[in-house]
Symmetry: C2
Subunit: 148 residues, 2 copies
DNA sequence: ACTCTAATTGAAAAACATTCTCATTTGACA
DNA sequence: TGTCAAATGAGAATGTTTTTCAATTAGAGT
């Protein structure tokens, strides 16, 4: 590999990739770098632009392939917005939920998981076995609240 | 309007449309009919096929336009699947959460809202004001569990 | 029922998003 | 350093959603 973005997140990504027998390529580390330093949710196009700025060139297909891999690894989360769009954000691990600012698309960790507190009585009454869940909170971060 | 699918859901949709000054067209009622009778989450293509079967012809653009309207009205929900795909399902009202069977994409109501029980201390500590949320549970329904 | 009008529609084009193919390059390991 | 499978970039192909616009239709008022 040519470049090293030398921060904790990148070496974390490197470890996860190695565990799965995947290569730590410049492009993959650049995607992590872009996502992590932005602190917010980015569209595929924005990630592509960020990686191009970092590396000069980058194929869009590689960005898609990389995001898929990192989503499987749990290091990147796909978030959905009320307007129907979606984006990707760096995530500290598989079981983290996120709050998204609807104005700036900033992403914040939400450490509690209300679903874990839940008993699934009403689910089981319908014969349903819950195996996973997806939660996302929407709102406004303090910076965007000030401006408004 | 030409056709009437004469069931509770369609007259509910009719009322909501009238409230907003929108017309109760054959196509719109057909979308509700298809979604409601299927009892599961359908892709845009499946809804399009269902409406065509009912009406003979139907423009795809109309399906998209109709789903947007009903999503705004809260009568239809867009659901996201772990594989990255998405679909639409009939929803009894704005604040209902859903369980989705990952095998058959069947949709079941989940009446409790764990997020409502939550105090937002950890959100507020980060200066974040929660305004809305999205929850979806994944699992297996009893029919799919039997087969497997 | 009949007319009027703005809202809605279908069809095709346009715009946008994602995946695939394949020749070339690169990271990891010896 | 050399080797080789894995990964990449470029562009084609495919898939999805939105836009445009002339024709049609629902609904309100006769």
């Amino acid at each position: 590999m040519i470049k090293d973005f030398e921060c904790v997140q990148e070496s974390y990504a490197r470890d996860l990739l190695r565990e799965k027998g995947l290569k730590s390529t410049t492009q993959r580390l650049a995607v992590i770098h872009v996502l992590h330093t932005s602190g917010k949710s980015l569209s595929v196009g924005e990630i592509h632009d960020g990686v191009k700025k970092l590396l000069g060139v980058a194929g869009l297909a590689t960005i898609y392939r990389t995001l898929d891999i990192f989503e499987d690894l749990g290091i990147v989360k796909r978030l959905h917005f009320p307007d129907g769009g979606h984006g990707y954000a760096f995530s500290r691990g598989r079981h983290f939920h996120h709050m998204v600012c609807v104005d700036c698309r900033g992403v914040f960790d939400f450490p509690e998981c209300p679903v874990e507190w839940l008993d699934y009585a009403s689910a089981e009454k319908q014969g349903f076995r819950v195996k996973d869940h997806f939660i996302q909170l929407f709102g406004q971060c303090d910076k965007c609240a000030e401006v408004a």
